[in-house]
């Protein structure tokens, strides 16, 4: 190990020292313009043929370059243009380049599929790319939503700004099987364990490109990428310069279904500046402010079971009503055993009568809840600020210091609905990028702000104005009033209504000053103090390095090596994790990979990768990957791959210790065995106990879950390069699937009894499923370039889960079929200044399984559209757009917000 390190250091030094030889004499300058529109072409690469020296044009299309001697040949290149060579022989010559646009398909370069730049046509695994141009012409209101138009992508929408994409199933509002990297940094909140892609990360104007790797991708990017990896890359200020801004003003809730019509504001500013050939910086800011979509699913839910279901009944008809987006009504008490039987003892003359009530069966009663609208902040705010400093240590080595910080209010669905209030996350990195290697150190600093669990907050709120228990408590009042009403001959339903009215005397009216004051005091109190506040200040520290040894090893193979180290510091002061104030929990993880690729014969390339990862709490894991690319003809490739991926149980699955109302979620770390005395007070299967069976649960050591996946695909350009086809099929097998099991301990500490279904301690523990589940699916996309710049893109995908054992809750959450159709034109009409785009999406209904709620989702169709007008001289665009044009409310997870139409008008300046 030491020897390897010293070699690496030597190599690094060698590269760093080259900048001393960085001295030039002759200066040449020029301007690059689009030959069609005559608009200045910014961010165009200008390099000197035969050398690695080069620069980019600024936002006015100008470039300046110093060379040792003349003449030189300049290579002018940019995606979407034809490569041009220009010979410069005199220093005084101003180089004017008429740059010819090229609308040919499949010309894009991707870097994430093999960690080295390659043509998208030649990627050995399925990959999708979104360019800045695609974002520019998309009708969506937020760039992140473009991801959902890619083939095979499913999205779970928690709220306006909280969207969770994935591929190949297993989506949820907080998806831990899908990695999201922003400029190489893991974008997952270290404590809350959801990726904050849209909330804290890039802002729209700074997105260079987004690459999506569908399916297992741990072999290159480390644990977590079971189902895919999304890589977002920002614009380098050396390349993208100038001041740009984008203002979107929109309107939502136009039909007043959820609330009065309200404004949508989205303001973006980006400023990139190259001070010299060595130093550049950029600054970004984005603000989104709106009144959020709401969870308005007031259907009755059987929530106490692990496999809950929507059921009949309303607050009026079911005394134990538990509305999905109604909170506080999760508190449920069986009043016969809790109150009425005691009345029967102290007033024996009522005992027989009490025994006849409800046919002698249990009388479960829930407290009166408040709707989501009443307990969550209606304002969703998202403010992002980011900046970076770039310094070229040498021609080939660039040092980058970047900071990304964001804060926001939004709503997120985990095991409950969480109101993320003043949530903050910062990511800071220091990076050295060389042609052959890179070194990166970054940290993620999370602060949950005033985020709270709406269920728990409302439950405690109810306790604050009238405690459930006690002789004058809510349930005593309710039960006595119920009994009294029954004794007066009232029907069961009428007696429950009367009882609720009696118990709810003094219930604060939602929205009243009294309500707000009391609710605020609860939500601002930590969970440990009977509040609902999450005090999460968890951090991640990560170091990684990659080295491309190809320059040394190219005779044998192209070889890439890399290693990383991660340290999580979980700090919730005991409100989320099993940590204590002042002593956070540390988790160390490290890994290394090697990749070798080689052309076997002329048309066949083989790449082998392997990666080893170790988490201090789990055994190490090795994940191999093998890919084969068969070139049928130019721009016609078949790809085959075998990939494995796995993930360590998430930080929450390891260390959470959180009461979520009906149950306490705990982690799988061994410390919980002591904390909750498993030895002295063993765990039993809660569901079985409800059925009357006493089944002990043995807590086995938690293992990482894994998937192995085979994939075959074809990508080709047909019809004179006017049609790009991409198809794939995959088959995957999941093993040691991580899920949760609700267990129960004896409430009295003695032997378990059937009564412990209500009196026992309910603990939800993470478990590995012994069952293997298989998934398979396919996807196909057709991109067609029509005449006059019209484009038509159609994609469809299917994901299916097979061999699911009975009663196994897989949380697969993927529609069997989904289709996207997009039709547009980026420039037509007079001077090609008009543009439009329409995107239609259809997803088939499916059974959505979630910790919060489970139920059937119907088919969903949405249509987004935009029409735009360009001013080429200032690179400005007016856009009139709509997402969910027909305001057809839809939801893609049970209990999540219902999304309606958003209509906006935007103006962008210096957009390129």
């Amino acid at each position: 190990m030491r020897k390897v390190t010293s070699h690496l250091v030597a190599l690094l030094l060698a590269n760093l020292l080259t900048f001393t030889a960085f001295a030039q004499d002759v200066s040449i300058s020029g301007t690059v313009k689009n030959s069609n529109t005559k608009e200045a072409a910014g961010a165009v690469s200008v390099t000197i043929k035969g050398l690695s020296t080069g620069t980019f044009t600024d936002d006015k299309g100008n470039f300046k370059l110093t060379v040792k001697n003349l003449p030189v040949t300049l290579l002018i290149s940019s995606v979407g243009y034809e490569l041009q060579e220009i010979t410069v022989s005199t220093a005084s010559q101003h180089v004017d380049v008429a740059f010819k646009p090229n609308s040919a398909l499949g010309q894009e370069i991707v870097v994430s599929a093999s960690r080295v730049p390659q043509k998208i046509m030649e990627s050995p695994v399925s990959i999708e790319r979104i360019s800045a141009a695609a974002i520019r012409t998309s009708p969506v209101a937020n760039f992140y939503d473009v991801v959902t138009t890619l083939k095979g992508v499913d999205v779970t929408t928690s709220s306006l700004t909280f969207k969770t994409p994935t591929t190949r199933g297993f989506n949820g509002s907080g998806n831990t099987r899908f990695n999201q990297l922003v400029d190489g940094m893991d974008n997952q909140a270290p404590g809350l364990n959801f990726s904050v892609g849209a909330i804290i990360g890039l802002s729209e104007l700074d997105v260079d490109n987004i690459e999506l790797l569908s399916g297992a991708s741990s072999a290159l990017y480390g644990p977590g990428g079971m189902n895919g990896t999304l890589l977002m890359t920002s614009k380098n200020p050396f390349k993208y310069q100038g001041l740009s801004f984008l203002v979107k003003e929109g309107i939502m809730h136009t039909d007043k279904r959820q609330r009065d019509a309200s404004a949508y504001h989205n303001w973006n500013v980006r400023w990139g500046k190259k001070i010299s050939e060595k130093f550049a910086f950029k600054f970004n800011m984005e603000l989104i402010q709106a009144k959020d979509w709401q969870g308005t699913d007031y259907r009755n839910y059987g929530r106490s079971a692990t496999n809950g279901a929507v059921k009949a009944g309303t607050r009026e008809s079911d005394p134990n009503y538990d509305g999905i987006n109604v909170y506080g009504d999760e508190t449920s008490v069986e009043i016969r055993s809790a109150v009425l039987n005691a009345i029967g003892v102290s007033a024996p003359f009522l005992k027989n009568f009490i025994d006849t009530l409800n046919g002698g069966r249990a009388i479960n009663v829930s407290r009166t809840g408040y709707t989501e609208k009443e307990v969550t902040n209606p304002n969703t705010v998202n403010f992002k600020i980011a900046g970076s400093l770039h310094y070229k240590l040498s021609q080939n080595t660039e040092a980058v210091f970047a900071a990304y910080w964001g804060t926001g209010n939004t709503v997120y669905t985990g095991s409950q609905r969480y109101s993320l209030k003043d949530f903050k996350m910062g990511q800071y990195k220091l990076e050295l990028n060389n042609k052959n290697w890179s070194l990166r150190a970054y940290t993620t600093q999370e602060n949950a702000g005033e985020s709270y669990n709406t269920t728990v907050a409302t439950q405690y709120f109810n306790e604050s104005w009238k405690p459930s228990g006690g002789a004058t408590g809510w349930y005593a009042t309710y039960s006595q009033a119920y009994l009294g009403a029954r004794l007066n001959g009232l029907s069961d339903a009428a007696a429950h209504t009367a009882a609720r009215a009696a118990a709810d005397v003094g219930r604060p009216l939602a929205g009243s000053d009294r309500f707000k004051a009391a609710y605020d005091s609860i939500r601002k109190k930590p969970i440990k103090e009977q509040g609902a506040l999450l005090l999460d200040k968890s951090d991640l520290y990560s170091f990684e390095g990659n080295y491309n040894l190809t320059s040394i090893t190219h005779k044998i193979a192209d070889i890439l090596v890399g290693a990383n180290y991660k340290r999580y510091v979980l700090n919730s002061e005991g409100t989320l994790f099993a940590d204590e104030p002042g002593s956070p929990i540390g988790i160390n993880e490290y890994g290394a990979y090697v990749q070798a690729s080689r052309k076997l014969i002329d048309r066949i390339s083989l790449t082998l990768s392997g990666r080893y990862d170790k988490n201090q709490n789990f055994k190490g894991r090795f994940t191999p990957r093998a890919t084969v690319l068969v070139k049928l003809a130019n721009n016609n490739n078949i790809r085959l791959s075998y990939q494995t991926a796995y993930r360590f149980p998430s930080n929450q699955q390891q260390f959470i210790d959180l009461n979520v109302g009906s149950v306490r979620l705990i982690g799988g770390n061994q410390l919980f065995a002591t904390r909750y005395n498993f030895a002295g007070n063993p765990l039993y299967d809660f569901e079985e106990l409800r059925k009357g069976n006493i089944v002990a649960v043995n807590t086995a050591e938690l293992k990482p879950e894994s998937i192995s996946s085979f994939e075959a695909g074809y990508k080709g350009l047909l019809m004179n390069d006017k049609l790009l086809i991409d198809v794939y099929g995959y088959y995957g097998q999941y093993q040691d699937f991580l899920g949760r099991l609700v267990t129960v301990q004896s409430g009295s500490g003695v032997a378990i009894a059937l009564g412990d279904t209500s009196k026992g301690n309910r603990l939800s523990i993470p478990v590995n499923s012994a069952d293997k589940v298989k998934s398979y699916g396919f996807g196909a996309s057709f991109d067609l370039r029509l005449a006059k710049n019209f484009t038509l893109a159609v994609n469809a995908a299917s994901d299916v889960l097979k061999d699911v054992p009975t009663n196994f809750v897989a949380y697969f959450n993927a529609p069997k079929y989904k289709v996207n159709v997009a039709f547009g034109n980026s420039g037509f009409g007079k001077n090609k200044r008009l543009g439009f785009n329409m995107a239609y999406r259809w997803t088939q209904g499916f059974l959505y399984q979630g910790d919060f709620a489970t139920g059937n989702l119907p088919d969903v169709q949405t249509l987004d559209a935009q029409i735009s007008y360009k001013f080429p001289s200032s690179k400005s665009i007016f856009k009139l757009g709509a997402t969910n044009l027909f305001n057809q409310y839809y939801y893609n997870a049970i209990g999540n917000s219902q999304i309606g139409g958003l209509y906006y008008l935007s103006f962008g300046y210096n957009i390129y």
Binding site: V310, K311, A347, F349, F353, Q480, R486, G489, M838, D859
Partner: protein
């Protein structure tokens, strides 16, 4: 290529049209049909059913007088009503009028008496005591021992608690009964908001406590003295007097007559005297008999060592059940039941009780203590259904029922 060129506009329009067609409504939340809320029955209400039945006309008058007609006709509520037919009502009125309304008078006279002379409070007391919340079909009334305690809608002290109720004691042992009154056909007459059972006599709500009877009955002076002796040294509310005066209690008292106490005490004192060195024979027996000749025997300091408070308490509580049992609920074969003595001696087998039924009333009932050589007899009422304070069996009080018996029950 040319084709594509030409068809650009067409395809644009087609695409637009297709998208508009596709974008039909997204479905709203899937709903789950529940059981429809129970509607209001269209059948006639309880009051109307009673009104329509000619043989219930006098009771209907009493309902009107009681002011409860609207209550029982409210179809959003459900009740069970025990309704005495006109024959039973006539007997009741004759008694209530002190014989002013003779048994043979025309119904108009009975009806007129109810309207003009029966106090509304009395009518309301009777009707509400014979009305129970919810529908109690005879099939839901158990035949097991003791009587099934079921609340009426009569709250004797609403200011004390809204949940206070006087209770009824139906049973289906050997027929069907409300307290000690036979339920007669027709049973289970269904109305739009409840069910009606007919009863053979008017069941009046109890007015007094058990202690009121024991304290004032000239034939139970020994029992009264014994209870006071048993309570000496005990602080209220743990006293027997307290329990016998408490509305929350639910008791059955087998009350040995004075003669029974005298006989038992004479024997016991005699044996005590002989054991203490008195000569066996008539003179000592006469002494014992003299000592036992008055209830003051329990407060005679000379006998404190024999009739200790604890001993007396043990004997008294052996005569009391913690449940309410009318004789018609007694088993027909001798069966052991627990007494309050089991509170202190949990393993004690209790007393053995048995009843013999005529048609329909009990003609004989016996109780046997563990220490008794023979059965004690319940002194059955001279005629059926003689109420407090004149009867000797099935005497109903707010907190229990009392049966006189002809022996003192001995626990060992």
């Amino acid at each position: 290529m040319k084709y594509i060129n030409k068809s650009t506009k067409t395809s644009f329009l087609l695409g637009l049209a297709a998208m508009l067609v596709f974008s039909s409504c997204n479905k709203d939340l899937e709903q789950f049909p529940g059981t429809p809320a129970a509607g209001i029955s269209t059948d006639p209400a309880l009051g109307d059913v009673i009104k329509a039945n000619a043989d219930d006309s006098l009771y209907y008058r009493m309902i009107v007088k009681s002011g409860l007609l609207a209550t029982i006709n409210n179809k959003t509520t459900t009740y069970t009503m025990f309704v005495p037919g006109n024959s039973a009502m006539r007997s009741f009125i004759t008694a209530a009028s002190g014989g002013l309304v003779p048994p043979g008078a025309p119904d108009a006279v009975f009806s007129g008496f109810i309207t003009a002379n029966l106090p509304a409070a009395s009518a309301a007391g009777i009707v509400s005591y014979n009305t129970c919340p919810q529908a109690l079909f005879s099939s839901s009334i158990p035949s097991t021992f003791p009587n099934f305690q079921y609340p009426s809608i009569l709250n004797p002290a609403p200011t004390l608690s809204a949940l206070l109720r006087l209770t009824t004691f139906p049973t289906t042992n050997n027929g069907a009964w409300l307290n000690n009154v036979p339920i007669v056909p027709a049973l289970n007459v269904v109305a739009g908001n409840g069910v009606i059972h007919h009863i053979a006599a008017v069941v009046t709500p109890p007015q007094r406590y058990l202690w009121d009877r024991i304290n004032t009955d000239a034939g139970l002076t020994y029992l009264k003295a014994a209870i006071i002796r048993a309570d000496s040294g005990t602080i209220a509310p743990g006293t027997l007097v307290g329990a016998l005066s408490n509305i929350g209690a639910n008791l059955t008292v087998f009350a040995p007559t004075d003669a029974a106490f005298q006989a038992t005490l004479t024997g016991a004192i005699y044996q005590g005297l002989v054991a203490a060195g008195y000569p066996a024979g008539a003179s000592t027996f006469a002494t014992a008999s003299a000592l036992a000749s008055s209830p003051t025997v329990f407060s005679n300091p000379l006998l404190y060592s024999v009739l200790t408070a604890r001993t007396v308490q043990g004997i008294v509580v052996y005569h009391v059940l913690g449940t309410r049992a009318f004789t018609n609920n007694f088993p027909t074969t001798a069966t052991l039941v627990k007494t309050l003595l089991n509170g202190g001696v949990p393993t004690h087998p209790g007393i053995s009780i048995k009843a013999t039924f005529g048609v329909p009333f009990v003609t004989a009932a016996t109780i046997k203590g563990l220490g008794n050589a023979t059965d004690a007899n319940v002194i059955i009422n001279a005629a059926p259904l003689i109420p407090d304070p004149s009867g000797t069996s099935d005497q109903h009080y707010l907190n229990g029922v009392l049966h006189k018996i002809d022996q003192v029950l001995l626990p060992q």
